[in-house]
């Protein structure tokens, strides 16, 4: 028995330990190398953890992600020269999705930008954070300060019961709506909590001092609605939620317009430009792209995974960038790039897995409806 998994492991480098490394091991997690760290892939099992997060509340350690703080004079103008974001409409307490692009409009990373009173707070992907820091440092003027908040841990509490649980420890947190954040006190520690996540469920991301991470994780997991959830379920949850994963569904070889991420190019920037790759991005917004990102449902039970080729008859028309078995739907689902003519929902074609052709249909995403809290 041998794993065919194609995850890139950076096995030559020594792995750093995250603040909750021992905490995960004590709870029986199976640890795997990911983004340069040992990370918990699962505790009791991916499907059980997946379903728990959809029905209750799951605690995810995402401390591998990069937390960056930008400050300095004329900060908005400096950051708008690097990111296709419209900061004139981002108010204190708001968080927004954005993209780090190269000069050709390829995606270097996707990230969250939050407006703090005198700074912009960014959360970037773990595997790309060192490159991102280099790219940002290079692109931003010298008088902009970039702080890597590497003494901060990041925990995500996700699921329909997350708000009720967290409100027991953080009164008032339930008033936040999706993509808003605020500073709070949690078990006596200063924390920042955003109502956001990567599962499609209602939930929160808690930035807290690394030294407080184990205490807070224990506190939350002592609640009957909360269990720790590993990276395996994080991937199956985000796949069902139709959320692309950097390094798989987005790469430097893919533009955000091909990826269906036009919302990451804020409206004013689509006409004004002035960000890396703007010429290509604006042209693609106006003229369309030759290939498009789509969601797929696949007939039968055999999962099709990243790298599987897509065929219309004998013509190769695309490739899968993510794929797996959806625990919620009980069926295989996938994300793919296909020729634009085949991208309309309902279009059918075939995916090849080990010389077998599986019937696939372009599906609207998310596969499982989002349940974000946008206010009552």
């Amino acid at each position: 028995m041998t794993d065919q998994d194609t995850e890139e492991h950076v096995e030559d480098l020594p792995l750093d330990a995250l603040p909750l490394d021992g905490w995960h091991r004590a709870r029986g997690a199976r640890m795997v190398p990911f983004a340069g760290y040992d990370m918990p892939i699962q505790y009791e099992g991916i499907v059980a953890e997946h379903n728990w997060s959809r029905e209750n509340a799951g605690l995810f350690d995402v401390s591998h992600m990069g937390q960056l703080l930008l400050s300095g004079p004329d900060l908005d103008a400096a950051v708008e020269a690097v990111l296709p974001i419209d900061l004139s409409t981002l108010k204190v307490g708001q968080q927004r999705y954005s993209l780090l692009l190269d000069e050709d409009g390829g995606v270097l990373d996707d990230l969250m930008v939050s407006r703090w009173p005198d700074a912009l707070y960014l959360v970037v992907n773990g595997a790309t954070k060192w490159d991102d820091i280099g790219t940002l440092r290079e692109a931003l003027p010298d008088d902009i300060t970039l702080n890597h908040l590497d003494e901060q841990a990041l925990l995500a509490l996700q699921g329909p019961k997350a708000a009720a649980v967290l409100a027991r420890h953080v009164p008032g947190v339930e008033a936040l709506t999706f993509m808003k954040f605020a500073a709070f006190t949690l078990a006596g520690h200063d924390v920042t909590i955003a109502r956001a996540g990567y599962t499609g469920e209602d939930g929160f991301e808690i930035s807290l001092p690394a030294a407080a991470a184990a205490e807070v994780a224990d506190l939350l997991c002592a609640e009957p609605e909360v269990k720790p959830i590993g990276l395996g379920a994080r991937d199956s949850l985000r796949l069902e939620a139709g959320l692309p994963l950097y390094g798989h569904d987005m790469t430097p070889e893919i533009s955000p317009i091909e990826a269906g991420l036009v919302f990451g190019i804020n409206k004013r920037r689509r006409t004004e430009g002035g960000f890396p790759g703007a010429d290509r991005i604006i042209r693609e917004i106006n003229e369309g792209t030759a290939r498009k990102w789509v969601g797929l449902t696949i007939e039968g039970r055999l999962p099709a995974r990243e790298g599987a080729e897509v065929f219309a008859g004998s013509d190769k028309i695309g490739i899968l960038t993510s794929g797996g078995f959806s625990p919620t739907l009980g069926a295989p689902i996938a994300m793919a790039y296909v020729a634009a003519d085949y991208a309309a929902p309902g279009t059918t074609f075939e995916v090849e897995v080990r010389q077998k052709r599986l019937a696939a249909t372009v599906s609207p995403t998310p596969f499982v409806p989002h349940r974000y809290f946008r206010g009552s």
């Binding site: 028995m1 794993d3 998994d5 199956s236």
Partner: protein
């Protein structure tokens, strides 16, 4: 008599027929199994070469033939309920039955005690 491979397959020999599956350790490592791709009846399999594929939520994994032989029967129940491999890996979750082309190949495999010691060393 049941033998084990260092790739975590088991092979149970009764007369001139052998039954093949994956061990409890293997299913635990794989996690929730959602699909099992079995070889067709009549397929000639070769010791150490791919014979089946197990798909878990996380990944696809190859299952190797413990010895040379020909597949004589496959476990149709796995088509309906692949999770039998999780719940009864060394019983109802068997994969296929095969002929034994060279009984001498069994000598190179581990017995239950040997496999248990092998697992403890992992």
């Amino acid at each position: 008599m049941r033998y084990y491979t260092d790739e975590h397959e088991w092979i149970d020999v009764a007369g001139d027929v052998a039954t093949v599956g994956i061990t409890d350790y293997a299913q635990g490592q794989l996690g929730d199994i959602v699909f099992v791709e079995l070889p067709g009846v009549g397929t000639a399999v070769e010791k150490g070469k791919d014979a089946a594929v197990v798909e878990s939520v996380k990944a696809a994994s190859d299952v190797y033939a413990p010895i040379n032989g020909e597949v004589t029967e496959t476990n149709g129940a796995l088509e309906e309920d692949p999770s039998l491999v999780n719940s009864a890996p060394e019983g109802e979750g068997w994969f296929f039955k095969m002929t034994i082309a060279d009984a001498g190949q069994l000598d190179g495999l581990m017995d239950e005690a040997g496999y248990k010691a092998f697992l403890e060393g992992l």
